[in-house]
Symmetry: C2
Subunit: 272 residues, 2 copies
């Protein structure tokens, strides 16, 4: 038996220790900061150094690094390593998902130091997600599986009504709960979490009911319009039941430290 | 007005010129060929040189390169460039899909030389796919959007029945047809295609009807169990209406050239 604590417990411990549910999204957009891997790395370093005290994790969005080729990959590695050294969890926002053998290769790529968790796209079903679960669980790492996203077109396919009247994404939620069932730690939180957007908060209560042990990763606060005060149902009184990602509203704030601390205080309030 | 031919027409021209619908899947698995970027690059180079005469395209599976970090990214670039120099189209099998601004960053990363097309995951809906369509169309490149995949768990979510009795993936198909409507070339083929697995051939006829202008990218032949002789409905008599990806059955064949040529001849027969 491994004595590595599971990711759900690691997340719960980190939230308690840092008194924060803020996930700093790292989306270094060249339209804002100029082109190049060196610039992206410097920009992320500066924001991480400023905002870290108010955060529990960083969430690098892989697209912004991938578009810089191999230099971008090195920059991602540097930035993630810095965050880990500062005591932050690192969630690779990759949204990968493929046939089983390929998901295994993605798990190799992304479920390793300095990454603690990865976002996963569930479209291909159980055999496509299982390699991520296995790789994560073996090393105390975690997943956040897309259940209901925060973008304007999220409903085009995710909200389609099934024969029984339920929206399609609730079927995803049931699968996610099943995938995470064997990974629930002593904190009550599983190593398989769910991505649930902040922009449709009326979904949160039913999703919390369908996935009682899943930590939620909630994007869409700030620039996308989601409001911290609407997220109470995601926590249901458990501090570590959800972490909330903000990117542009912290990255490009006049003072990232102040913006992150304001969000931290709001969320701590809502979750108690 | 741009005079760049659209991807649908480029694909149709390539299929006619090479008399092939074979897409060589490049999945350099370290369990088969040993670990490291140099080995992956050499392996892919050797197979491409051998099989190219029987193929119309290569499809590097990004996971296998991504797991090698920045050296893997460079290896991918080299391998794709070689294939392009040999006159093959290059389809980046990335299955990316994210909120609009992030999809734009992925499009930057993958819709550029040496890549001619990219596979896209539609889960996040129209605003998430639009940046890929725009970027592809502007440069004569293309997309293949996941509609019904070839893996055992494909049905877990894709086949769920909607209120009207239709499977969920048919709604994806309708969206894909809409996304591709403005990109149909003189060949009748659009720059927005569809990934449709070979392992459930009874889906092909209805999907061909729902997506009359979409080139199909069909994985799942060979190692996954799909059979070329079952794919007639995908072509519906049009040679360039589908291209068929085979990876392990060519890569690890005793003679990749012979394996690719056998598949080429079978498909040419079925599609006529």
């Amino acid at each position: 038996m491994s004595t590595t604590p599971g990711f759900g417990d690691r997340l719960a411990r980190a939230v308690a220790a840092r008194e924060s549910q803020v996930v700093l999204g790292l989306d270094p957009d060249p339209a804002r900061i100029g082109e190049g891997a060196a610039g992206a790395s410097e920009f992320c370093t500066r924001v991480i150094m400023a905002a870290a005290p108010a955060c529990v994790a960083v969430k690098p969005q892989l697209a912004w690094f991938e578009r810089l080729g191999s230099a971008g990959w090195d920059a991602l590695e540097r930035v993630a390593t810095l965050a880990a050294e500062l005591g932050l969890l690192v969630i690779a926002d990759a949204k990968r998902g493929d046939v089983a053998v390929t998901s295994g290769a993605y798990a190799d790529a992304l479920l390793r130091a300095p990454f603690d968790a990865v976002t996963v796209n569930p479209l291909l079903g159980t055999d496509a997600v299982t390699p991520f679960v296995t790789a994560a669980r073996a090393t105390g790492r975690g997943l956040f599986v897309l259940v209901r996203t925060s973008n304007p077109g999220a409903g085009d396919l995710q909200d389609l009504r099934l024969a029984d009247g339920s929206p399609w994404y609730e079927s995803v939620a049931r699968l996610v709960a099943a995938w995470g069932a064997a990974g629930v730690g002593s904190s009550g939180m599983s190593d398989v979490g769910a991505v649930v957007g902040a922009t449709a908060p009326h979904h949160l209560a039913v999703l919390r009911e369908l996935m009682p042990h899943q930590p939620f990763l909630i994007p869409g606060v700030g620039a996308q319009g989601g409001r911290p005060e609407d997220l109470g149902a995601a926590f249901a009184g458990t501090r570590a039941a959800a972490v909330v990602a903000a990117s542009r509203s912290i990255l490009y704030a006049a003072d990232p430290r102040v913006a992150a601390e304001a969000l931290r205080a709001q969320l701590w309030d809502v979750s108690g």
